[in-house]
């Protein structure tokens, strides 16, 4: 395996004089299958005990070796595409690392000093779980239920997964194929990773992902690729029919994402604030799925990773106990956020903020947060929220 990577050491001395004054952000220690391993990666792995290193070996080199082996293993993991670990398992792994420190401040300080972000640490631990699953599937006893077992479970519990005659199968796998057809002329097109907010799904191109995982990427990190794969599977006509059957107006779904030919022909998906509120309300009221899957849909919306809009507008003490099931959207001059805000002791409220602001893009979500703050204040003042939730 060692011949498959190129190790390159870079240091200040190798740089030309003109760049000697530049700030070194990090150092590349190795390149493995086109992915880099940096000094921060090694420091972080040592600081958080992410790899086991024998005491009698020089720790920096040994850690780098382990990280290289791990990256090569991950290449095979990607090839076999094991199921995505449950968020709760990743949470537990993060918590276990956090528990190694006496308090949160020390944990945060360790992150800062090692150059790792909390997101990077989480992704690392998530990959550990995927490696574990891969090894179990590939070389050990199969701990995951087999497809046949899942089908049997489905057959034995139809009420959980059906609504009328329609099947719900979030664990089933879909081919992730980056090829879609324009609604104008049927020409094939691809989604560029550089224009997508989520690069993870691209690693699965050519393989399969679970429908539920694709939904998480579609919502949680706005993966255009995942959205198009799902929409390509169910079909625009089917989705429109479901929206129509639920009495939706103000939600006009006509094509996949990044269909430039359609855009140039003036064909675009459109949504009004009222339409988005009605859609979120219909989801909450279970108009699209069984109770179990409605709950799953809301959990996926609660897993939204871009939280500088509606959630950020809630007062800190409220944010600590609230759950916001929401979806953001941002392109060109528009920035949107719509969600269900769950507060203890009262029914959730629905908020949709659709904005269009030319120019500076840096504070768009701050403005949505401001609207969210005022809406919450209005609700609190009206006495609808618990007194304890007042800021």
């Amino acid at each position: 395996m060692g011949c498959r990577f190129i190790a390159v050491w870079l240091c200040l001395g190798f740089l030309p004089p003109s760049t000697a004054a530049a700030e070194i952000i990090d150092r590349i220690l190795a390149v493995v299958e086109r992915e880099i391993i940096t000094l921060s990666d090694v420091n972080g792995a040592m600081r958080f005990g992410l790899v086991d290193i024998p005491r009698d070996i020089e720790p920096n080199q040994a850690t780098l070796d382990r990280l290289i082996e791990r990256r090569l293993t991950l290449t095979e993991v990607e090839r076999y595409a094991p199921p995505e670990p449950a968020a709760a398992m990743v949470d537990a792994a993060v918590e276990a690392r956090r528990a190694r420190f006496a308090d949160s401040a020390l944990f945060e300080a360790a992150l800062a000093s090692s150059g790792l972000t909390a997101d990077q640490l989480r992704r690392y631990l998530r990959d550990d779980l995927r490696i574990e699953t891969y090894l179990q599937q590939r070389f050990g006893a199969a701990l995951q239920p087999t497809e046949a077992e899942l089908i049997l479970y489905y057959r034995d519990h139809p009420a959980e997964f059906t609504r009328g005659a329609e099947l719900r199968q979030p664990w089933h796998r879909l081919h992730v194929r980056n090829r879609f057809f324009s609604v104008v002329g049927g020409a094939p097109y691809r989604i560029l990773a550089s224009r997508d907010a989520d690069a993870d799904v691209y690693r699965s191109v050519g393989r399969t992902m679970r429908i539920g995982d694709l939904a998480q990427h579609t919502i949680g990190t706005s993966s255009n690729l995942a959205a198009n794969v799902l929409l390509g599977f169910v079909g625009v006509d089917w989705a429109r029919a479901r929206l129509s059957a639920a009495g939706m107006s103000g939600v006009d779904l006509v094509r996949g994402v990044e269909d430039d030919r359609a855009y140039e022909s003036g064909i675009s998906n459109r949504m009004t604030a009222n339409g988005l509120v009605a859609l979120l309300r219909a989801i909450f009221e279970g108009q699209f799925a069984s109770p179990a899957h409605t709950s799953d849909m809301i959990e996926i919306l609660c897993g939204q990773r871009f939280n500088s809009g509606i959630p950020a507008g809630l007062p800190p003490n409220v944010r600590a106990v609230a759950r916001v099931a929401h979806k953001t959207g941002e392109i060109s001059t528009v920035t949107h956020d719509g969600g269900l805000v769950f507060l203890p002791g009262r029914p959730p409220y629905v908020l949709a903020v659709l904005t269009e602001m030319p120019g500076d893009t840096s504070n768009r979500f701050e403005r949505i947060a401001t609207v969210s703050e005022r809406v919450f204040a209005g609700i609190a003042d009206a006495g609808a929220a618990q007194t304890s939730l007042r800021p």
Binding site: Q137, I151, L174, R190, R207
Partner: protein
């Protein structure tokens, strides 16, 4: 039984009705150009995903790569035991030669190996339903996502595999834009008497 692969060989005409309806063993089928071609009758039986993962058809290709399908395949075709035409062994020999020529891993796409004739959205006249075609989405680090990549590797395949056919790059029917399609025609394998 294939003793080397340790896989049972079954005559699909002896399988229960629900399997025969989906696999359509030995049925006459219109293949490309409207020619009538008999469908596969003899299949390897795969008892579990673990077996598919463990069974190496050649030094660089495992059985699972040819039966990795998605939800578009009917549930019975995704559950175990699962069946793949014996001719997949012939395809693998070709792919192995191709793999040796390019010298790097050759990745077969999901839904890009064997598909049953009942696979939703698949052409039942495609050689994929004979187990004799593969859609390759990546070769080494090169994604088959543009004309240059697809044509370069198609040229290699044509050179080293005289019996193989590669779809041309393009967006018309019968062409491809996001993978390299290699097939060896409509081969049906009938195991020898010793098996």
């Amino acid at each position: 039984m294939n003793d080397v692969l340790q896989l049972p060989i079954v005559d699909a005409e002896s399988l229960p009705d629900e399997y025969r309806q989906l696999l359509r063993p030995a049925a006459s089928s219109a293949a490309a150009g409207g020619r009538s071609v008999g469908r596969p009758r003899y299949f390897y039986e795969i008892d579990s995903w673990e077996t598919a993962m463990r069974t190496e058809l050649s030094p660089h290709f495992a059985l699972w790569e040819f039966v990795d399908v998605d939800v578009r395949e009917p549930p019975l075709m995704r559950s175990f035991p699962r069946y793949v035409p014996c001719a997949v062994s012939v395809l693998v020999v070709h792919l192995e030669l191709f793999r040796r020529e390019v010298g790097v891993p050759v990745r077969i796409a999901a839904n890009g190996g064997y598909r049953s004739p009942s696979h939703e959205g698949a052409d039942p006249a495609s050689p994929h339903t004979w187990g004799t075609a593969a859609n390759i989405y990546r070769i080494g680090d090169v994604e088959m996502s543009d004309r240059g990549a697809v044509e370069r590797y198609a040229d290699i395949a044509r050179r080293v595999l005289p019996a193989a056919w590669c779809r041309p790059f393009g967006s018309e029917r019968g062409q491809t834009t996001d993978h390299l399609h290699i097939d060896v025609g409509f081969i049906v394998c009938v195991p020898g008497a010793g098996r």
